[in-house]
Subunit: 342 residues, 4 copies
């Protein structure tokens, strides 16, 4: 059985486990005040061009989204997301749980188009009843999106301009950021993201770590006051914060994070080529590590015996759309095995 | 430098790391649906006498408290805790964040005395304005408590009786449960806890794991509906749930959890003897792995150069109360070194 | 200056004020336990075919929506509304404030079409990720809608059937219910509403009262436990509950509520005739007391000097859509004055 | 039957009803934008020495407490109250519902003693774990308190000084403020309150209105941003805001509010004299309109047949403590009737 089901189904990159072993007996302060976390924050800060105090290490993506949105927004504000945005669709109401409304803009390829955002804000600000409405305070985008697509640099700049005009924060959910940065089709660097957003996170869990997301506030003034206390209040503070610290310290030493994602992207490019060479229809174009392909049901059933894939949707009676994803642990052998099966 | 500062400052028991290595390449389902988590739940269920579906694996203690209290209570209910209860004092308002009030009863040695709980409920139920008040729905106790003390079996039975009389859930926070069960001074077994409470958790983070708490609902009907969805809603669902699953699977194989805590308790008994033999005053009596001792300030300062301890409080101008804790990684050498220093 | 701006801009029907005077010195229990409230509940219950214990008197509409939704839903559930539903668009996030998500279905004439609701639920229940999503628990409809339109009896029955199939509550917001019941174009009676919904409210504020909405749970088991305490918890319990009690007691004595709304509907029918006779384009068809008309900007400006109207929207450069509403205090003289001005 | 049960059991001062009649047909803007509300705000502002924009008219006391606390505090902050404070004990968790913890200080005569507040803050700020705790952000006091007692000017100044030192807001709940200001035993004026607090409200419901509380932010910068939207979000915005506006406009014209409370205080002084002359034991000393007296059970039972009183508590087997209150509608005849009965 080979698995292309998702990018969070195997353990961690071996270098992470090795480091966990080496450091196991060191007695370090709890709650993220350990040396490993500090070192990780310094490395991430250096890469992004911020101060270490602007970097926070958290456990998971929904948790990070919930924390960012509920601490940066004031209580009467909501967050604008695409209709397909993770915070709108698949977080079980984690944002509303904190009292904030998710305001939606129609998605296009999983993205918010700048013109749609601008139209939304023009309509809102000219509405005579706007004081009876949730005030937009932030724009949430994912990069790569839930469909594996990417914003171009010009799109990010346009979103930034609109956010500036209307006083909105721009937040980038980077659960799979590494794959976005490593995509051959991107013109966006991590420094661009730092320059154009107010806050973003670098996904660890889906990019080779056991758990962990590194949250970066791009300006010192964007760090919410008492953010440590808020992490605790959310039940998100790990006593052994070292667990996330060690992982990010390893990932951001000698470019490991980039290497992991470059490898996965190399596998993804080859995967897409195999799928196309086999004459399969691409269901959704994606320039990152998730590939969406349309299979005849008969093929889907046969293949499912040997290959783990994600069911995506059933567009018609005879076909099934599936998602295949690569990650740090995907090998050439996996690809060859898939190719042989197709 | 030797450390007795706390029980969550080193990594994990080596058997856990070994197993993380062995299982690293296995591609398993996410969100806790993996084989390791299932196996861990089965072992814990067998130990406690429940079904595996009554066991949930979570990341941390405050998170678990928040989830349990906010999903078992109805929105108009509150939870009764000792004034020193962790949910009242040191969770940054995590319970109130979910809309529930913590109702307090005066602590005695960190515990709720049955007579105080009964008096509280009698007063409440006879109050003519009780419909204008938060309805008590649960009693929260920690075992060991925040002071390292333990409930006796008769005390737990008395609390249970009162909870039954007034229709309250009884919830036991077992962040350090293993030390409580391994204490030479206890008459309470895990089966007693299963029989006498409605829900409790077995602490992993402070008992040899990297992260993780195992939550046990003692009756099938106590499991909140859609609990999985609630975990997600709280931002507490780990994509790689295997990380916690593997750890609890190891801890509950061949009695490792008991062994770890028995070792720590053996170290704690010796530690207490050393402290007493050296003529130091015990600041608070504790039958578990946390020892509270009173030091002259001069001794405290000298010792601090070589020994990490937790500052507890300053009861007078010339003395400092400190806490020393043992854990899985405490060694005879650590004890000897401390003895030599004293 | 004559006013057709809205139906809540003058005071109360004179019979209400008269009764406030008559009863002023009676010392009655607070918090809605007074004789007037009890009498009002009995009259409303008799009209609707429920027990008085299923009727609650509240102050305002958004407050009522917030209370109903947050007490009938469990914490992991959301409410389905049309995109134009008041709870979605114009309550400043009052529902999300309580932790519940508003799930949207595209509106048609301000209504949820049964086929759209059914499609929504089919998609939801077949979604492999539905445990990561907010669980639908209730359908919210307004009748009349925000556009003044009405559900037909067959539509209500179809919605009821779908709600039964999927285990959803059906909640009807009747802020302007009286006008809906008095409309010449309706085939829906209050008993139909009682039979087909789980909960609804009879609007007072917009139908001749100073404040007040009468909430009716259509089955005894639908009344949330500790609802009185929840009203207090929301800050919605009036010390002098008599103020609302007296008003509803008057409104539901000798059919005054029906008479008020019948009068307003008579005025509305005449108003629509005047508008059409003057050759004005109807912007939205509405069978109730709100009429939407399209004016040339020049006409709009001229008319605004003598007539208060609600600006609705600006569909093109030369026209303005406005809303005119009738209410208990609208007179034949108002209509004649408007006719003369047009 | 005569009633001394409470101060919110009869209707409104006749001048209020008269004005409701006179203004009934005026078509005025909704949501508090009417001329009556504006006029009321101007009069209250002039009295207090603020701008009208710092005055807001709301419906009830718990609602006002909830709004003030949840909009002035940041999400990680809590409010300090006496253990007997209304927000702590009798609001059914209205504050926690908004996510904020009530932090308690032991009451003395229903008040927070400055020395206790100072000790609380000293302990908090020196606690090594304070980042794991709810941050105090406001002090809540009631004046008169729930026991009818009053803060002296020096006490208020001392509280102010401590609040300044620790960066806390000082909020005064004036549900019965008029009686406090009219008490013969007070040295505190409304201007003192304006000078020494950050926000307070002038109670209407218990001082002669049907409903309504006038909230005053003592400095322009204390008004929470988008406060109007927050009122809506809480479900507290009245469509016919005129109802409260008219009442406060009447109450603050020609000193009616003072006159009403002076009358009630005159009655209260006489009431207390009657009670003492009859040899009854005062249960709690109160300088305002609530009098607490200890009755032999036999007397209590006999008196209850003719006099409505509030049961307060049962301090021993043979006695009952009751509360008698005066208000705008209390008459000399009521007093004489009571005297005759005793």
């Amino acid at each position: 059985m080979i698995s292309f089901e998702c990018d969070y189904l195997t353990g961690a990159h071996p270098a992470i486990l090795k480091r966990l072993m080496e450091t196991n007996l060191a007695a370090e302060s709890g709650y993220g005040e350990d040396e490993f976390s500090l070192s990780a924050k310094q490395k991430i800060a250096a890469l992004c061009g911020t101060a270490p105090e602007q970097v926070f290490l958290l456990a998971g993506g929904t948790q990070t989204n919930q924390l960012v949105i509920s601490t940066m927004l004031t209580h009467y504000e909501g967050v604008i997301a695409a209709t397909t945005g993770h915070v709108e669709s698949h977080e079980a109401g984690a944002i509303e749980f904190t009292g904030h409304k998710v305001l939606t803009v129609e998605e296009h390829d999983g993205k918010i188009r700048p013109e749609d955002l601008e139209a939304y804000m023009k309509t809102f600000t000219s509405d005579g009843n706007k004081d009876h409405m949730v005030q937009p305070g932030m724009v949430y985008i994912s990069h790569p999106t839930e469909y594996g697509t990417l914003y171009g640099l010009q799109e990010l700049k346009a979103l930034r301009r609109i956010c500036d005009e209307y006083g909105l924060y721009l937040y980038l959910d980077g659960a799979r950021l590494g794959y976005g940065l490593a995509s051959p089709d991107t013109d966006v660097s991590i420094r661009d993201i730092k320059d154009l957003t107010d806050v973003f996170y670098i996904g660890g869990t889906k990019c080779g770590a056991l758990i962990g997301e590194a949250l970066v506030f791009t300006k010192p003034e964007n760090v919410p006051k008492y953010f440590f206390t808020s992490i605790k209040k959310h039940g998100d503070l790990l006593a052994k914060g070292r667990l996330v610290g060690i992982q990010f310290d390893v990932l951001f030493t000698d470019g490991l994070y980039s290497d992991i994602c470059a490898h996965a992207m190399e596998m993804a490019v080859k995967l897409e080529k195999i799928l196309k060479d086999k004459g399969l229809a691409i269901f959704r174009e994606s320039p990152t590590n998730q590939k969406f392909v349309l299979l005849e049901d008969e093929v889907y059933e046969r293949l499912s015996k040997d290959v783990k894939m994600s069911f995506w949707e059933k567009p018609d009676e005879n076909h099934t759309a599936v998602r295949l994803a690569t990650c740090w642990s995907t090998t050439e052998e996996d690809l060859k095995a898939l190719e042989a099966l197709l």
